[in-house]
Amino acid sequence: MEIFYFMLAAFSPFNLFLAVLGVAAGIFIGALPGLSATMAVAVLVPVTFGMPTEAALIMLGAIYTGAIYGGSYAAILVNTPGTPSAIATTFDGYPMARRGDGDLAITLSTLSSVVGGLVGVLALLTLAPLLAQIALKFGPVEYFWLAIFGLTLISALSQGSTLKGFIGAGIGLLLSTVGVAVIGADIRYTFGSQFLLGGVEIISALIGLYCIPVLIDLVATPSAHLQPPNEGRGIRFRESLGLIWRSKFNSLRSAVIGTIIAILPGAGGSIASLVSYSEARRTSSRKEYFGQGEPDGVIATESANNATVGGGFIPTFVLGIPGTPPDAVILGALLVQGFRTGPEMFTTHANVTYTFIGGLFIATLVMLPLGLLIGRYAFKSIVAIPKALLVPSIAFMTVIGTYAIRNNPFDVVVMVVLGVIGWVLARYDIKPSPIVLGLILGPIAEQGFVQGYLMGNASGSVLMVFFGRPISLAIIILVVISALFPLWRMRSSRRAKPSQKREVQHEH
């Protein structure tokens, strides 16, 4: 009962005001590529020092939630993930926007984000101590296999050209080795340049690989960026509700996947949304439409990435180990305010913790009206702005955004170079997603492997360490299934082809 009381405390007018303000600010920051949730939270930390702890936490949580959701705008409207969590949203979100369904995609993203966010917060409220144990069960070897699993998903996701998917992933893996290695501290592939010491920053790579090719194409082709929506359809709220209801299992499953992966401190939102996307496709009866603007794709990724918000707080509060980078900043803010995480958070500091969870609930709910409102204008203005204005504005944002990540001008150079390379590669059907995923998964796989190898040497059996642990074995089975999936699909599609052809001819 006490818990309920603490949560109600979040509903004070001041806190509500902070939640609305935080979510709105978060949406804008998340929507602008380069301005990430981590940065948004970090910038706000000093502002919160003067506030009561509960209010400060609510504000930070609201910004974080808003930013993760806002990341879908850029993914849908400009094919550029506003945050790494939104990578998979580009797969179907952008094709939807191109054909004039941008309004539908945004409304769907809003609804799924709310569903995902609520599931994550609910898990945080009810199962936190239990779920936190998952974080501890994952050792280096499990992370290694998880990263391998992620890499096999690439092959499943790159339709028709598994080989090209792997080439892209290979490029990404190579890029991920640039800079100072975490293990061994070797300096690799910097060609003597101090600017490359910090490696290829993931968000700069994201902006370059996704956004620059879009800009080049915008300039090179005369057609409009996005199809304008048909008149008088509004935000297509009813239609979206219907779609979400039809896909309620997809949405819930993705939210659960998102929550669980967020609990693993080494994984993160990009893996969460990727895994739920491929799960959604695997179980869907409309497999062949994925990647061409299938609403279920957007529902899956957006449910998953907003579930990571609540999920990530589970290890943060229970173990004091941040689940995601923004959590690390919030954890720091808590320490500065004199709070120690751990069981105390749910006993001595229960008032603060539960008020915060209440605040996250509010922030997630506020996202619905606010998101629909802002989303509508975002879509309309991107459609309405003439190309001559749109291209330079986006180009300007990419430069500012890339620079802002680490205050490093060289990251801008890397971004542009990767962008041009990405545009060329796209001509040869090598898409940006495998490259970026290679870049994200490479270090996880590498560190997991070396750590597991060292552990194996210490215990006397490397093989046992890699193949003798139950969770590892489960992931290995997933890897095998996922690696064989494209082969199976190729065979079944070969068998199905003759009949399909006939149908096509029929239509003509």
Partner: protein, 328 residues
């Protein structure tokens, strides 16, 4: 005060150019007011990502900086290469005292010993070192090792079989492990992780048997983990029951030290002023209490004593670096 004549010319030149640029662009500051420094916000660049110990201690300084100077200390991040990205760019920043950067030991000494990280230790003009987090050997609460002696005995029995997690290679943790190996004549397996958070997770999940961390780590996780010994000169007030390595017969002192530097060419009297301001913050009772509570140990190394302090550390780390084959 202006001890070297050589310094005067560039100092004057920079100072004039700064005052010109400041008066030209903002119109707020005139040339005479070194006494009034700072008259606008000071940028405090942390060469790591947010949320780490460097960030947390900077955030604590932030509040008291404003009390003393009426100006804000604005914390920014410039992460990459374990600090190298920031430090290699420090001297290209405006040398007017309005840009300062966090520096860390042993990082700034060890990094330039290997391949060129884009900066040299002596290029960094440190003006104050304000605390350190002492190295600590940490185990899970339910670990079979109750004392350091038991841990060392177990390591002697089966060389290399005990695994320890820690943050990074050639880091404070790595060095601590190497030092203890040398002092106790044992062999262990050190497993580097990306950051302290990941190293702690590996310990709490029983992926490794022990962790090299700091008193700060133990302070954060005191419900689940305990320290066998700390590498400070005296026992930490937060942990009166945990012995120092010295008490147990191992001459181990050290940890991760943190301080601040300015770009080369920053006017001498402004550097001194900054050193004074941060010295004042370090004396603030509330600040001290908060830092201790988090497990830090405060030290006071002002600008005047910096050279000696750094020379001592340099000697100490060089000894270990030789054993670790860092300087090739």
């Amino acid at each position: 005060m202006f001890s070297s004549k050589m310094y005067k010319a560039p100092f004057l030149a920079t100072f004039i150019s700064i005052s010109i640029s400041i008066t030209a662009f903002s119109g707020q500051v005139s040339a005479q007011d070194v006494d009034d420094f700072p008259t606008s916000n000071v940028q405090y660049i942390i060469p790591f990502g947010p949320g780490g110990e460097s960030d947390i201690s900077a955030r604590l300084q932030q509040q008291y900086f404003e009390e003393i100077t009426d100006q804000q200390l604005i914390v920014q991040y410039m992460a990459g290469g374990g600090g190298a990205v920031g430090w290699s760019q420090l001297n290209e920043m405006e040398a007017d005292g309005y840009a300062i950067m966090g520096t860390n030991l042993p990082h700034i000494i060890l990094k330039p010993m290997g391949k060129d990280p884009g900066f040299k230790t002596k290029d960094l003009k440190n003006f104050y070192y304000f605390h350190y987090s002492p190295d600590a050997l940490i185990v899970n609460n339910d670990s079979p090792y109750k004392t350091l002696e038991e841990f060392i005995a177990a390591a002697k029995k089966s060389p290399g079989a005990i695994t320890l997690s820690g943050s990074g290679t050639q880091s404070a943790n790595d060095i601590a492990n190497r030092k203890l190996e040398m002092l106790a004549d044992i062999k262990t397996t050190y497993i580097p992780f990306k950051g302290t958070g990941a190293a702690v997770a590996a310990l709490l999940g029983n992926q490794v048997q022990a962790e090299w961390g700091y008193t700060t780590v133990a302070s954060n996780h005191r419900d689940k983990a305990r320290m066998l010994a700390v590498a400070s000169k005296e026992r930490h007030p937060q942990f009166p029951d945990v012995p120092t390595f010295k008490e147990l017969g191992y001459e181990m002192f050290g940890g991760a030290y943190r301080g601040m530097a300015v770009p080369e060419g920053t006017p001498e009297n402004i550097v001194k002023k900054l050193s004074n301001i941060f010295g004042q913050i370090n004396q603030n009772a509330e600040f001290r209490e908060k830092m201790l509570e988090l497990g830090f140990v405060l030290i006071d190394v002002p600008y005047e004593e910096m050279e000696e302090f750094m020379a001592e550390r340099q000697k100490e780390y060089e000894k270990i670096a030789e054993k670790m084959n860092i300087n090739k």
